[in-house]
């Protein structure tokens, strides 16, 4: 409890409150107002913002390990997609006999491939509680095993990035195969309902939207709690000087493993919320390019901050939606340019720079006030502290 209470610092509380308001207001505006009203939120917008919110959760998950722990994972999309597949499998089982081939148990693509039995890994996924468990367990387990090997043998820096990219690449190739039993190239789609409610209905969409906003709020709460706890301090210390931590008698590999696994589970939840809102999950989600894009959302918003990844994910994806509509030819130029510009000119990201500027301003004011008061009263033992933003500058 005290750990959770630590998550309610001023910024996090504000974000959580805003998210809760959004979670209530958008569905209300969507459902209650007639489409003619200027404040009516259109269906596509609900789905779009809902999707962005799951992206924001994914970016937050990445921020926890990259911004606070220094692990640049280029394969976080894999955990996102795995959570999505777990959800997708549940939704496929919900279709039941309403599929094109009308088989009560087998999903359409298995009937099409002339399979007779459900593969063992599809068992139990017709129960929501089991699917929910898998959404957390599968990405978590993969992250645990991967992290166990990687961190114990001290694979760090770019090596780790490349290996994690290879991980998601290998998964992508695997899921593209038809005989893996995950729908191959086409993935899983044609979902009918979730928890007994029609997935296309406005009320269900609104509920999914609210769930995404609340999940993000919960993510913010947990991440802030972790970052502000003693464990969080150790994480930052590991990021800044891993060898020194080891010399001091800590086990940085265990800390990284915990953070990495938790982050993967967060990504899994994001994926699970993403799938019913988008209506499809296919192996393309594993593409290394997707994972790298998540990194750029986080970098744009500001890594090592709680608000940053959320802002980054919303901004970049909003920009992407606008660009692909208005100037589809130039989206990749813009994205590429963004990568370069952010790393060169805005290493702290938008939120990081703003916070840094604000802190510097405050420090200067305090210093000025202290100087003014020290003139009046020369012997002051509590001189103002140095700017309290040492974190990122020493990150690497």
């Amino acid at each position: 409890m005290r750990f959770l209470a630590g998550g309610f610092d001023r910024l996090a509380t504000t974000i959580i409150v805003v998210l809760c308001i959004v979670a209530v207001m958008v569905p209300v505006l969507h459902l209650m107002l007639p489409p003619s009203s200027p404040f009516h939120v259109q269906t596509y917008l609900v789905a779009l913002i809902g999707k962005y919110l799951t992206y924001a959760l994914l970016a937050l998950a990445l921020d926890l390990i990259w911004g606070y722990c220094g692990i640049l994972s280029l394969g976080h999309g894999a955990f996102f997609a795995l959570g999505g597949y777990a959800m997708g499998m549940y939704l496929m089982r919900q279709i039941g006999s309403r599929g094109v081939y009308g088989d009560p148990v087998l999903p359409d693509f298995m009937v099409f491939l002339n399979w007779k039995e459900l593969p063992w890994f599809w068992y139990g996924l017709d129960q929501f509680w089991f699917a929910a468990l898998m959404i957390l367990a599968v990405p978590g387990l993969l992250a645990f095993v991967f992290g166990w090997f990687a961190f114990r043998s001290r694979v760090t820096g770019v090596y780790l990035s490349i290996i994690s990219q290879a991980l998601t690449y290998a998964l992508m190739l695997a899921f593209f195969r038809n005989n893996m039993g995950f729908g191959g190239n086409n993935g899983l789609t044609d979902f009918k309902d979730v928890l007994g409610y029609d997935i296309q209905a406005a009320a269900t969409r609104s509920a999914l939207f609210a769930a995404s906003a609340l999940a993000l709020a919960l993510g913010v709460l947990l991440t802030t709690a972790i970052v502000r706890s003693k464990f969080g301090k150790l994480l930052v210390a590991t990021r800044d000087a891993e060898s020194r931590m080891r010399f001091l008698g800590y086990r940085p590999e265990n800390m990284k493993l915990v953070a990495f696994t938790f982050s993967a589970m967060m990504a899994g939840v994001a994926g699970a919320l993403y799938v019913p809102q988008v209506g499809i999950i296919n192996p393309g989600e594993f593409a290394p390019a997707n994972s790298i894009e998540v990194v750029v959302w986080t970098a744009v918003g500001g890594r090592g901050t709680i608000l940053g990844p959320i802002v980054g994910a919303l901004l970049v994806n909003g920009g992407k939606s606008w660009f692909t509509g208005a100037l589809p030819e130039y989206w990749l130029f813009a994205l590429g340019g963004l990568f370069v510009a952010v790393t060169l000119f805005l290493p702290r990201g938008i939120v990081g720079t703003a916070q840094h500027g604000w802190a510097a301003l405050k420090a200067r004011r305090t210093a000025a006030r202290a100087a003014a008061s020290s003139q009046a009263r020369p012997a002051d033992p509590t001189s103002p502290a140095a700017p309290a933003t040492a974190g990122l500058a020493a990150a690497e």
């Binding site: 770019v158 090596y159 990035s161 290879a166 970098a299 590429g336 990568f339 370069v340 790393t343």
Partner: protein
């Protein structure tokens, strides 16, 4: 004048047709004429054999016509013609020379009848005739045809041909053809055993299917011998297929080596992961495309030289783009490898989209020069020239780089910076300059890799993407700071990949390799050939 020319022509003809052949002509015509008087199939067969015994290749058209049912004789004078029917009429050809003689109604003629056994005899006789052809490649292909379609009727002709044959490879093919014919004949068992022994030594797929068919109907000693021969052929085929896999692996490995070697240099010296490396390869491939287009339009004769012209150009193009990236972006990001990775990824997106905008998203066609097309057969192994040249080229590039790094002054500086940047700087080496040159060199190498890859892969804006993860794997596997690591890494991964493919399929094989590398990194986090010493940990 006209008279003189006619006279000369007649004289020439007299000289050109020696009297002996003229006599032969008469004999053959006489034999062919006998077809008209043959009373039954046995008679006809005797005539066919007589014609075959003449050993004159000119009887072939008549025999072929006989087998096809196109040999007829005129009812009135029993003269034999090759005919070609069209409606009620038939065009007549001379059976020996093939010249058109005239036209006549069909009903004036009687067809010389053949049956299946007679057709087989004719085929054997005809192939016996080609076995006597003066051109050795004709004889060889006749022998191979007989080997493929064994027939006891061929045996006599083969025996004659083997006795007469002087060229070793034709003789071997003839022996094999005889052995395969013996197996289907009713020859004594000891001859069949000898034939099996002979075939067992050949060890190709055709012999295998031949022997398998034979062992299915054979009994006792023969069956055992055939099965033994099949086993030995299978063993040698397995060896060949392993050899083929090694070759494919070497070929894939050389491609990986080309793609990865530039990456290894930049990563080794600067600790910078250049995600835009694949796009340098792509730029090289597009340079080749442009060069070939220009040559096609202006100087088609130079086409065989197009690759030689493209090589330096690709090096310059990719190298200068690399230099630009280094001077414009990377040098501001030293000491922040993760951010360099992101920035270069951004550069790669921009380069891809630029090329897509200029050249379009579809594949561009890059031709093979004549000396790179085709293949050579080594036993059971097919080696295509372009793959072979790429292996040679990759090794040549490797050798040149190895020399440059170990024996030149700039190489010495590069190694110094790799091992200890600050100490090198203290010794007066301009490390920023070395960085820039290294990056340009690595990118340039990627460019010439693109020239090579344009010969075997689709030239599209996504060309580089396909290689980037594999080349990273090579570098991670081989370790940095030592080119030998890249060489061993590339060929190991290539060969392992190709050996896994038959068992696991191409995709699963690739996944297995990735998993193996991920596990391997646990054991040796710095790769196979890691630099030793404290500098690495810095």
């Amino acid at each position: 004048m006209t008279f003189l020319r006619a006279l000369a022509t007649m004289l020439l003809m007299l000289v050109a047709v020696p009297p002996a052949q003229a006599a032969d002509d008469a004999a053959i015509r006489e034999a062919i004429a006998k077809f008209a008087t043959a009373r039954n199939f046995a008679d006809t067969e005797a005539i066919v054999r007589e014609l075959g015994a003449s050993g004159d290749p000119r009887v072939e058209p008549a025999l072929a016509a006989l087998a096809d049912g196109n040999l007829n004789f005129r009812k009135s004078d029993r003269q034999v013609f090759v005919t070609k029917e069209s409606g009620q009429a038939a065009t007549l050809f001379d059976p020996l020379t093939g010249e058109t003689v005239g036209e006549a109604p069909k009903r004036d003629f009687t067809k010389i009848k053949v049956n299946n056994s007679l057709r087989r005899t004719i085929r054997a006789v005809v192939s016996g005739l080609t076995l006597a052809a003066p051109d050795s490649t004709v004889r060889l292909s006749a022998a191979i045809n007989m080997f493929r379609a064994p027939d006891p009727a061929n045996l006599e002709a083969l025996d004659v041909a083997i006795a007469r044959e002087t060229e070793a490879r034709v003789a071997a093919a003839l022996e094999a053809a005889r052995a395969s014919s013996v197996l289907v004949s009713d020859q004594p068992d000891d001859r069949k055993l000898a034939a099996i022994a002979l075939l067992g030594q050949r060890g190709d797929r055709e012999t295998l299917s031949l022997l398998t068919a034979f062992s299915a109907r054979a009994e006792g000693e023969l069956k055992a011998a055939a099965e033994q021969a099949i086993d030995s052929i299978n063993a040698s085929l397995a060896l060949w297929s392993a050899g083929q896999n090694v070759w494919y692996g070497l070929s894939l490995g050389s491609v990986l080596l080309l793609a990865a070697i530039g990456l290894a240099i930049t990563f080794g010296v600067m600790g910078v992961i250049n995600m835009a490396h694949g796009e340098m390869v792509m730029l090289g491939a597009y340079t080749t495309f442009l060069v070939q287009e220009l040559i096609r339009v202006h100087q088609p004769a130079l086409f065989d030289w197009s690759l030689a012209i493209a090589l330096p150009l690709a090096f310059i193009v990719a190298g200068s783009v690399g230099l630009l990236i280094e001077r414009g972006i990377i040098r501001f990001l030293y000491g922040r490898p993760l951010e360099t990775l992101l920035a270069t990824w951004g550069v790669s997106l921009i380069l891809q989209q630029t090329v897509r905008t200029i050249f379009g998203p579809t594949n561009r066609e890059v031709g093979n020069p004549s000396w790179m097309s085709g293949a050579v057969q080594l036993g059971e192994l097919t080696v295509t020239w372009n793959r072979l040249w790429i292996v040679v080229f990759a090794l040549a590039v490797f050798a040149v780089l190895l020399y440059a790094i170990n024996r030149t002054s700039i190489g010495l500086r590069m190694r110094a910076v790799t091992q200890n940047r600050r100490m090198a700087s203290a010794m007066g080496i301009r490390t920023p300059w070395v960085d820039a040159m290294t990056f340009a060199l690595g990118s340039g190498i990627a460019g010439i890799a693109g020239v090579a890859l344009s010969q075997i892969d689709n030239v599209s804006p996504n060309l580089g993407q396909g290689y980037i993860i594999d080349s990273f794997m090579v570098v991670v596997f081989g370790g940095v700071g030592n080119l030998w690591g890249t060489l061993v890494g590339a060929f190991t991964l290539g060969i392992v990949n190709k050996f896994l493919e038959p068992y696991a399929g191409a995709v699963l094989g690739k996944i297995v390799v990735l998993v193996i590398i991920i596990l391997f990194i646990q054991k040796r986090p710095r790769g196979l050939f890691a630099l030793k010493g404290r500098a690495v940990e810095a």
